[in-house]
């Protein structure tokens, strides 16, 4: 599903985002990518959605070599990878329903399809009762679930969550992780970038640990190794 071969990202001669990273993620896996700040987690996430390009190496996603992806093809890649960020990125003037529908509207889906898909994904994240509330009227965890719902509208094969619980308390964190597990159970590959020790240790899924831009550990049922 995701193959990174000898990936390096060099910002300047003394700033290396990633150094010769090799990793492979199979379809349907739940993978945690952990590491201290500056370890290269976010750089890796940005490379996967083609927000940045590698300096060296090759990236292959679902059989598509995106190493030198053309700008005009990036929207199609981003419909295949649902993305969830720490800072939610919700539109404040739009309701939960409208925020989720927005991703479909801008992709040219018909209104009929939007009316079909949006209630379905809101149900997956457990927000069907709050569809007409605005972001400021719901909790942080619920806002992050809206973002997950929005990421799911294109039925992505991969869901990439970059520090999705970074701004959440313990209860909301648990809610969001439950939703991610549920999505993984449906068959999607979930890549969770986090430095939340409890989350990683409870998940008991594959853990890839990064340090100084390198993969220092890759365990099938791993634990959080790094001292925060």
């Amino acid at each position: 599903m995701i193959d990174l071969k000898n990936i390096s990202k060099i910002y300047s001669s003394d700033v290396h985002g990633l150094r010769d990273v090799n990793l492979s993620i199979d379809p349907g896996e739940f993978v945690c990518i952990v590491g201290a700040s500056g370890a290269g987690k976010t750089t890796l996430a940005k490379l996967l959605i083609a927000e940045e390009r590698p300096t060296r190496g090759r990236i292959n996603i679902g059989g598509w070599d995106i190493t030198h992806i053309k700008k005009r093809d990036i929207p199609y890649l981003r419909r295949q990878i649902g993305v969830v960020f720490q800072d939610f990125k919700l539109l404040k003037q739009k309701t939960v329903w409208e925020n989720v529908a927005f991703a479909l509207e801008v992709s040219g889906e018909t209104n009929r399809r939007i009316r079909e898909i949006v209630p379905h994904v809101l149900k997956v994240v457990g927000l069907e009762q709050k569809a007409h509330r605005f972001p400021h009227q719901i909790s942080g965890g619920e806002q992050q679930r809206v973002v997950i719902a929005r990421a799911l509208v294109h039925r992505p094969k991969i869901l990439l969550a970059d520090e999705p619980t970074g701004n959440l308390d313990t209860i909301n964190t648990a809610d969001v992780i439950q939703v991610l597990k549920k999505i993984n159970d449906f068959g999607s590959t979930v890549v969770l970038v986090t430095h939340n020790r409890e989350v990683v240790n409870e998940l008991r899924s594959r853990v890839i640990t990064l340090a100084d831009g390198r993969v220092i550990s890759d365990k099938k049922h791993g634990k959080y190794l790094i001292q925060s």
Binding site: K71, V83, K89, V106, S107, G108
Partner: protein
């Protein structure tokens, strides 16, 4: 790969952009209106100069005064010869009797002149021949042709109402106005492009969050670009309507004041603009739409490259 984005949704996003950035839109429309007005002033000056020149040209002719005793045969000969020249458009002869009647009519309220005429036993006036050339440049040739020995001895006097100096002056003024008008139009065209470019950049800045999310969730570049280009085209068309209305108003109120400058003749501005309305609107509309489209395309393109 090309994505056909539903037109309705692109328009709906464009309308939202316009309502959110109404003040920037207003400023943009104002500059575009000024640009279009400068073009129309240029067009109007051209039309006015053509009218003025046509009016002046109409007034040029050569009047040939024959001696009173000139026989009709000589007059006929002179008329036939002058009319046969390719440079001549029209020759009219006023006989001595007609000249006298016209003189009496012209001075009917001046008894001393009429008394003086009555005291004379013979008609003191001779026949008059008025020659109109096809082109103003033909007059020197016609004046030369009047030296034909077959009838030149019968000519008492000839006058040439030469308006060529006035024509040259009108042409010179019109050329200067055209020249400065062209510079003004170019300056406004550049201003328009820059203003639209910046208006779109500001629109992108105010909606950067929404556009960022659009790109994150898979909106094509075309979907990001098209609503903003549509906004610019809307501003251009709105400007065209406002500028056309202003031009119509200026002509309605201004043309009557120009009549006195043209010796009571119709300046022909209203007629010119009405006759060329469609061509002017299409040309100006296309030019302004192309300018704003390219400008907004470049503005969005710069953002999308990031």
């Amino acid at each position: 790969m090309f994505i056909i984005t539903p037109i309705g949704r692109v328009i709906s996003f464009a309308v939202k952009n316009i309502t959110r950035n109404a003040w920037i839109g207003l400023a943009t429309v104002l500059v575009l209106v000024l640009a279009l007005l400068s073009v129309n002033i240029l067009v109007g000056v051209n039309a006015l100069a053509s009218s003025a020149i046509a009016i002046l040209e109409k007034k040029i002719d050569v009047s040939v005064y024959f001696k009173p005793e000139t026989p009709n045969a000589i007059l006929d000969q002179a008329r036939s010869y002058m009319a046969s020249l390719p440079q001549t458009e029209r020759v009219t002869i006023m006989t001595a009797e007609e000249a006298l009647s016209a003189f009496i009519e012209r001075h009917k309220n001046e008894p001393p002149i009429l008394d003086a005429i009555n005291e004379l036993e013979e008609n003191p006036l001779g026949a008059t021949m008025v020659i109109k050339a096809r082109k103003t440049t033909d007059y020197p040739y016609l004046m030369e042709a009047l030296n034909n020995p077959q009838f030149s001895f019968a000519i008492e006097n000839k006058t040439y109402d030469d308006h060529s100096v006035a024509i040259e002056q009108v042409e010179r003024i019109a050329n200067s106005i055209r020249y400065f008008g062209l510079i003004l139009t170019l300056v406004f065209a550049i201003f328009s492009a820059l203003i639209v470019y910046n208006a779109i950049r500001v629109a992108i800045y105010t909606q950067r969050e929404e556009i960022g999310i659009m790109r994150l969730v898979g909106a094509s570049n075309a979907f990001v670009r098209l609503p903003l280009i549509l906004d610019a085209i809307f501003f251009a068309l709105l400007s065209l309507i406002i500028a056309s209305a202003l031009v119509a108003l200026i002509i309605s109120f201004g043309e009557p004041h120009l009549v006195s400058f043209l010796d009571g003749e119709d300046p022909g501005l209203r007629t010119y603009f009405l006759n060329n309305l469609l061509a002017l609107i299409i040309t100006e509309g296309m030019a302004i739409v192309i300018i704003v489209s390219l400008s907004s395309w470049a503005a969005v393109g710069r953002y999308l490259k990031k």
